[in-house]
């Protein structure tokens, strides 16, 4: 005949499948009967605790309110690493392309000058009268000098283009 210690060791190992000798013991032992009842309640709680929902495991379930004194937020869905790598590559490519676009002039300096001068008709007028030296020096400023064989300069003016 099984004793109480042996019964409780067996029922703790497998509460759902008691053998015939275990059933025989618990039928005649009030202490073990009460013990089994409490254990089965515990077992039910264990079963429910283990049966987490798939949504909970995947972090998409409805979160319960935080316990007093604690705070947490529901775990956001993970973004696969390969998508992060692709996103980073696209961003780098966009920055490089943008930098190149800004760095490269849309037209040549010569074309800009010709286009600008076309808007000043007096610049195209034929004249043999040279621009006064003082005026020419003001236009050239401190950093530019004409070559000695540059010829007669009949028109000089300061213009702003390309925001300079």
């Amino acid at each position: 005949m099984m004793d109480c210690a042996e019964y409780r060791r067996s029922i703790l190992a497998d509460p759902r499948h008691p053998g015939t000798d275990m059933l025989a013991h618990v039928a005649t032992c009030a202490d073990c009967s009460g013990y089994t009842e409490r254990l089965l309640r515990f077992e039910s709680r264990l079963d429910r605790a283990l049966r987490v929902s798939v949504e909970e495991v995947q972090g998409t379930g409805v979160a319960a309110p935080p316990r007093p004194g604690r705070s947490w937020t529901a775990r956001p869905r993970r973004v696969p690493r390969r998508w992060l790598a692709i996103a980073a590559s696209v961003l780098v490519a966009a920055v490089v392309a943008g930098s190149l676009w800004l760095a490269v002039p849309r037209s040549s300096l010569a074309a800009d000058v010709a286009s600008h001068v076309a808007q000043e008709p007096q610049a195209w007028a034929h004249a043999d009268v040279p621009v006064p030296e003082l005026k020419l020096n003001q236009v050239l400023g401190e950093h530019m000098r004409l070559k000695a064989n540059a010829g007669v300069v009949s028109y000089a003016n300061t213009c702003l283009f390309r925001a300079i």
């Binding site: 109480c4 210690a5 042996e6 409780r8 060791r9 067996s10 703790l12 190992a13 497998d14 509460p15 499948h17 202490d31 013990y35 409490r38 254990l39 515990f42 077992e43 709680r45 264990l46 079963d47 429910r48 605790a49 283990l50 049966r51 987490v52 798939v54 909970e56 495991v57 995947q58 972090g59 379930g61 979160a63 319960a64 935080p66 316990r67 604690r70 947490w72 937020t73 529901a74 775990r75 993970r78």
Partner: protein, 175 residues
């Protein structure tokens, strides 16, 4: 279906079978790893391996233990890939707190935290028995243990769990 899995129809059935078992597999992987991210990765890899090796499954009725075995192997492989891994239970609990606290009842949340604290050798057979409905003999085969060793581990698992949950353990037997 009893017989080798092959052909398009059988493959479609196999896929449906895997999908129907996926929730249980995910739960098992979670309690095995105590990490939702890792559990998802392990199940994903398991499905991939199962799909490639589906012809080796001769009996659809054996699919669940077959997949659980693959999950255990994949979980073990995850440790081979990440060497020098040390587990801090309190960190694990903190990381998975939303999961643990998701239970409607406070005592379920405490129970989940207590399950987290169980050593692997106690937690795994307990999960196989309670969650997966494995018999002692089936657990013994899966974990390559004797029946007596499985019963001892299950006894110790519940005893420790009851202690962690603040149950009255005055009448619990000594070993």
């Amino acid at each position: 279906m009893k017989g080798p899995i092959g052909g398009n129809r059988e493959r479609a059935r196999f896929q449906a079978l895997c999908q129907s078992l996926r929730p249980d597999l995910l739960r098992f992987a979670f309690w095995l790893s105590r990490d939702r991210d890792l559990a998802e990765d392990v199940v994903q890899e398991t499905m991939l391996r199962a799909w490639k090796a589906q012809d080796s499954l001769l009996d659809e009725g054996a699919a669940k233990p077959w997949l659980l075995t693959i999950i255990r192997r994949e979980y073990a492989r995850s440790f081979e890939r990440k060497r020098f891994v040390t587990l801090d239970i309190e960190e694990l609990i903190a990381k998975e707190e939303p999961m643990l606290a998701a239970a409607d009842e406070q005592d379920l949340a405490e129970m989940r935290a207590a399950i987290f604290k169980l050593p692997d050798e106690y937690r795994e057979p307990l999960v196989l028995q309670v969650l997966m409905g494995y018999s002692t003999a089936e657990i013994a085969v899966e974990l390559d243990l004797s029946n007596a060793a499985v019963l001892t581990r299950l006894f110790r698992a519940r005893k420790r769990l009851r202690l962690l949950c603040g149950e009255d353990t005055g009448l619990d037997p000594e070993e």
